[in-house]
């Protein structure tokens, strides 16, 4: 088991190094010069001497290999660098914004599970009936509507017409807890629509599959109460693939909530990344992508280790 864990950790570190290098190269190779852009804000035509000075100050005049060496050395010390725009430390900005994105995703996941899991179980138990077909159709629709459509319609209905909630934005929890939850509700629900549909489908097929297994038939034959069979023998076994799918989706959501963050003006990590790319703020881009990829790798590692715990065969593979 220890050897398995060590090997997996080694692969994880290698993956993170690969991502760091790839992102560094990619963002530097894309045309667009941060020094030029910084001095061109608001349609200004900067003086070439000023641009050259800034490039030198930011170290952008160095050969790419040398910049890479500097970047990697700093990274080994755990230093993500500072923003080219205002010298603000990238790590502290990520520390500020990552929890907001995680909060958004976490709330969305809770909502999605709260709706998707019971609905999926219900649909599986009544497979083929009208209620199953209605639920499955709804899930299909929920899956196929893009988040920005759900978000925009939600704003139109709940903020502009009914005026129940503010039209997006962000308020710190400490400043006004109720307002904080109010502005969290809409973006979280928007993500939960698609995620809930995924969980619904996964639960439905998984429960259906488990229902047909021998141990369930045996439990029925022993005369165990149906409710107990469903809770203890079916749903528990059906949960494994659902948890896996949820874990992977949460990982991709860390960097993939950009549309929702944009539509609702939620100051999380994704929106920050897009702005950093637009401004070619190299340290910000590499720092954010690195953190996202580390989270993703960690999540996968966790899933892998979970498999190993659940299934001894994996350990020796």
């Amino acid at each position: 088991m220890l050897y398995y864990v060590v090997r997996r950790m080694g692969v994880a570190v290698g993956l993170v190094w690969f991502v760091a290098t790839f992102v560094f190269l990619a963002i530097h190779l894309v045309p667009g010069d941060p020094a030029e852009l910084l001095l061109s804000q608001g349609g200004v035509a900067p003086d070439p001497a000023a641009v050259a000075d800034l490039r030198e100050k930011l170290g952008l005049d160095q050969p790419l290999l040398q910049q890479y060496a500097v970047y990697l050395t700093a990274l080994l010390r755990g230093d993500l660098g500072t923003s080219l725009l205002d010298d603000h430390p990238v790590a502290s900005e990520i520390a500020l914004r990552l929890p907001r994105t995680l909060e958004l995703i976490g709330t969305a996941a809770l909502l999605a599970v709260a709706v998707g899991l019971p609905a999926g179980t219900f649909a599986a138990l009544r497979a083929g009936t009208a209620s199953d077909r209605v639920l499955s159709t709804l899930a299909g629709i929920a899956l196929s509507i893009p988040v920005f459509v759900v978000g925009t319609v939600a704003i139109l209905v709940f903020a502009q017409k009914l005026r129940w909630v503010p039209a997006g934005g962000y308020v710190q929890f400490g400043r006004d807890p109720l307002h904080h939850l109010l502005v969290l509700a809409m973006p979280a629900s928007t993500i939960a629509v698609g995620l809930g549909a995924i969980i619904f489908r996964m639960t439905r097929s998984s429960v259906l599959e488990v229902l047909g297994r021998d141990h369930v038939r045996a439990a029925r034959a022993r005369g165990i109460a149906p409710a107990r069979i469903i809770m203890h023998h079916v749903v528990r076994n059906a949960l494994v693939p659902v948890v896996t799918v949820l874990g992977l989706h949460l990982g991709s959501l860390v960097g993939g909530t950009v549309l929702v963050e944009y539509v609702f003006n939620w100051p999380g990590l994704s929106g920050y990344l897009v702005r950093a790319v637009e401004l070619r703020d190299y340290p910000e881009v590499t720092g954010i992508v690195l953190v996202i990829s580390i989270l993703f790798v960690l999540l996968n590692l966790l899933v892998d280790l979970l498999y190993a715990v659940l299934d001894p065969r994996v350990r020796h593979a």
């Binding site: 894309v30 010069d33 030029e36 349609g43 035509a45 039209a167 934005g169 100051p267």
Partner: protein, 377 residues
């Protein structure tokens, strides 16, 4: 401010800025947002100026809060206790926030929402023509090194289509240099200098040796809808005189780099001047300045450069008027850039917001100066 030679302080209440060359526009620059007068005791987080508000809190990328300065030098002002400025990246959400009553005032009203806001009894729209769209050329190679070809392009564009397609009718055609008609430097007899005239455009193109037109690259950006939509209209219009322009629509950062390097034949530009003085046009048409994405690449017109220099050094308003009139008529003939459309720049607010005013023309972006008179309710 590289034109400053030295700054003297002969007594307690006098500052003398000595320029290397006579600069008629210095007072305009000193009034600019970009040149605040601050105390030497300021630091990066707390600038000390003479304004009506002081910075209270700052959440990077989220919001900024200021509160009234009780010892402001104008008694009774500011009327507001404070302002919370919230960043809304999405223009539609900005409008939604205003309509939902989350905010009292928004800037940069998207053109497609101006109609709805004007019709809303609870809201008020204050819009002015300020920024503009224009075309830039690469003058270092054929075909746009020939003024006749540039002028042919100028006469081939149906500008109403740009105003309608890109700005939902919120703007106006620009058939001369971007000098607003409320300016004392506006020249009424030159205002139709580049008016739509297909016959003239075809004739100019034939005179230049391209009776059948030609192919060229056309740089714009897909990042901003107005740049993309305007470019598409221009592309269609040019096809009518045989110019097949191939659109290149990278993101803005790439657009800036390609523009600075002159990697295009024809390019779409969009900007606003810093102030309403015609000297601001030098930024767009003075080919002696360094290459920039806001100027045509390598279009050198010595006479225009000379006139711009003369206008900057002249302090007599009447003489300046004559200089800039001559400069504009030359520019219309040589087309260093080509004006396309003014775009409406709007602020929208709740009905009970008073005292806030959208400043005219290029000053629109400085309208925050009227916050000292602004009140709610």
């Amino acid at each position: 401010m590289q034109g400053v030679d030295r700054i003297e302080t002969p007594d307690e209440r006098t500052v003398r800025v000595v320029m290397k060359q006579p600069t008629a526009t210095l007072s305009q620059w000193l009034a600019s947002y970009h040149l605040p007068i601050i105390s030497r005791k300021s630091d990066a987080t707390q600038p000390i100026g003479a304004g009506p508000f002081v910075l209270k809190t700052q959440e990077r990328g989220v919001a900024l809060e200021v509160e009234a300065f009780p010892k402001y030098y104008r008694p009774g002002l500011p009327k507001l206790k404070g302002i919370r400025a919230i960043a809304y990246a999405d223009e539609n959400l900005r409008v939604a926030a205003l309509q939902a009553g989350d905010v009292d005032l928004i800037e940069y009203v998207p053109w497609q929402s101006m109609e709805t806001i004007s019709n809303d009894p609870k809201l008020r729209l204050d819009a002015t023509d300020g920024p503009f769209m224009y075309l830039l050329f690469n003058g270092t190679k054929a075909p746009f090194n020939d003024a006749r070809v540039r002028k042919a392009v100028a006469h081939a564009i149906k500008r109403e289509d740009i105003v309608n397609a890109a700005f939902f009718g919120r703007g106006s055609p620009l058939t001369h240099l971007p000098i607003v008609d409320s300016s004392e430097f506006f020249n009424p007899d030159l205002k139709d200098g580049w008016k739509y005239d297909l016959t003239l455009a075809k004739k100019l193109l034939a005179d230049a040796g391209y009776p059948e037109g030609f192919r060229c690259s056309f740089l714009s950006t897909a990042q901003y809808g107005m740049h993309k939509d305007s470019a598409e209209v221009v592309q269609q219009n040019l096809a009518a005189i045989g110019i097949k322009a191939e659109l290149n629509l990278p993101d803005w950062a790439t657009r800036v780099t390609l523009g600075n390097r002159g990697q295009y034949d024809l390019a779409m530009g969009g900007t606003a001047a810093d102030n309403n003085d015609p000297d601001g046009l030098a930024n767009l048409i003075d080919g002696s300045l360094s290459p920039s994405y806001v100027r045509s690449f390598g279009v050198r017109l010595p006479k225009i450069e000379e006139l711009l220099k003369a206008g900057r050094a002249e302090f007599d308003p009447a003489k300046r008027k004559t200089i800039y009139k001559e400069m504009e008529s030359l520019a219309i003939a040589e087309a260093p850039v080509v004006g396309l459309a003014w775009r409406s720049q709007g602020y929208a607010m709740q009905r009970d917001v008073t005292g806030f005013k959208n400043l005219p023309g290029a000053l629109s972006f400085n309208s925050g100066l009227t916050f000292e008179e602004t009140a709610v309710g």
